[in-house]
Symmetry: C2
Subunit: 337 residues, 2 copies
């Protein structure tokens, strides 16, 4: 068991952002460690996940309740039990849950999940975590992908997109990414093995999409919404499928904009657009984990992780994530194991 | 065989509409009867279908090529063979095909389908025709509907919507229509048996939808797009399904408008939006026809038909259809049988 400090660092939401998220929307403060009531478990955070959805939670209730001004920022983290008053946990156990943006959290034991015995722990957040499972279920159990089909993936350098494209390659698809900047695009093709990558920061996606997808788009995995979704809609083949995973282009905007052609293009092309969240497929997680573990182990998937040290850097990390700075799964190393 | 006249009446597209369709966009003219070449069949039109899709064809290619200025308006019709030079047809045979807005058409025999032996012929356009099959497949084979679910149907007094809602009732759903005007809404509940109907011309659908659908919307059958699709999106339950059948509110507009919340609402509520056209389900037509025939015969479905006499009234008929004047399947009686 770790020696406990008197104080910890927390990051609070200081103001509701309207438009672009900035560091001034957060407050870093020091606070006493929480009391550990009966039935609760004190957890020392090790790795904090950073996700575009963190931004969406500031806008209002989504699939979870909204984060309000004065709240410790919500966030999913992996940590180590330091004191347990219920749930059969013991100091040293590795657990995961909504620990928030703080070094220590006192959580109801029922709100914690025991982590599988796997190292590095970071892979429980990337390939074997929500990112990997979101990619797996969101591609294979929503639109599906067949050999020879064209798969288009936005936010292709992100935690989910980087895995979606690699699964697409394993399944024999022609895989085209969309990402920002020539270096990132080169990394996506050269390192991750996508067939090509569209640089949305330096080209007009609606004009270049046809060069990259000469046979049109059969499956579009949408992480971004907005103008890129619109470009994809116009390039979709008849009976194309769109997996709606997220809308990162919209979360950080005061005036979200729906793509043109809804529902006209859906009718005329007989498209299917379908949203999902990873929890919808919990009964198929075992298969997902087994496949992802195997693919990572034998090198068919390169695991891309982007780890930043220190809880005080979480605001900067999220702001950068929303701007597309990250390569693969971004997380904050709150403490060494 | 009918005595053939020297001339016939045709309706041409005289100008491409931008915005609302008007009679001035059409030209009614008299023309000699066409020659009947080898392999062709001369057909005397009896019943001409009027469909919102007729308007969409003026905007450009959809699932069929666009209708251009100077063309006889495209349209699906049932007629009687008067002269046959191929295809094994004989005078008196009842056939269907893209005969257009005219009294007589000379068609390649391969472009004609023999109609089943059924009277009244109008039912081959309503309950047993494209309208009925569109309703059947578009409800049962796209989103599906379960007992106790809430089904919302726009253009509920139209050719397709009137049948969708009645199929929903047969399947045990709580069925809510959307239509224009108190008389039409009363007809939809009292005559067609919907549980309730929202009058979009006199109430704000986004505000009243919750009163009519207190448990939210599980399945929305969308014939209209636009603000009503938007209201439905906000009222959808988690994992709700939207069957995208048409977008009549958009066809007659110079500036179509996508609903807000795409893809945000699709992600957060895990919705499925899916487009279809009736031809996608041709392999399941036999089942559809058998069920629809049975339901009509035993009175579980009331067949609503709205028949206007005279090909010269086709422009007025279509304009009225786009404004929602019709009750049930609108068609033009081009000639008596």
């Amino acid at each position: 068991m770790t020696n406990l400090p008197a104080e910890q660092t927390q990051v609070l939401l200081a103001a509701k952002p309207e438009g672009q998220l900035q560091e001034s929307h957060f407050e870093v403060r020091h606070a006493p460690l929480p009391e550990v009531e009966e039935g609760y478990v004190l957890v020392r955070s090790l790795l904090l996940s950073q996700d575009a959805a963190n931004r969406a939670w500031m806008q209002g209730a989504t699939y979870k309740s909204a984060v309000e001004v004065g709240d410790v920022m919500h966030g999913y983290a992996i940590g180590e039990v330091v004191e347990a008053r219920g749930g059969g946990f013991e100091p040293g156990d590795i657990v995961a849950g909504e620990l928030g943006w703080q070094e220590y959290a006192s959580m109801p034991a029922t709100h914690l999940a025991r982590c599988p015995d796997h190292r590095p722990l970071s892979q429980l957040m990337s390939i074997l975590g929500i990112a990997g499972k979101t990619a797996y279920h969101g591609l294979l159990n929503v639109p599906g992908i067949e050999e020879g089909e064209t798969l288009l993936v936005s936010a292709a350098g992100g935690s989910v997109g980087s895995i979606v494209g690699q699964i697409g390659k394993i399944k024999g698809a022609h895989v085209v990414g969309i990402a920002g900047g020539p270096e990132k695009c080169a990394w996506i093709t050269d390192e991750l093995g996508f067939d090509s990558c569209i640089d949305y920061k330096n080209t007009d996606v609606s004009k270049t999409i046809r060069q990259h997808c000469p046979k049109g788009v059969d499956v579009y995995f949408d992480n971004v919404g907005g103008p890129i979704l619109q470009a994809a809609l116009f390039a979709m083949n008849l009976k194309g499928r769109i997996s709606c995973c997220g809308a990162v282009s919209q979360y950080d905007s005061a005036s979200p904009q729906s793509p043109a052609g809804i529902p006209g293009l859906i009718v005329v092309k007989r498209l299917r657009m379908e949203g999902f969240i990873v929890m919808d497929f919990v009964d198929q997680d075992a298969q997902a984990e087994a496949d992802l573990k195997q693919w990572a182990a034998d090198g068919q998937i390169k695991v891309a992780e982007d780890i930043i040290d220190g809880i005080e850097n979480a605001p900067k990390g999220l702001i950068g994530l929303l701007a597309g700075d990250n390569r693969g799964k971004r997380m904050i190393r709150v403490a060494a194991e």
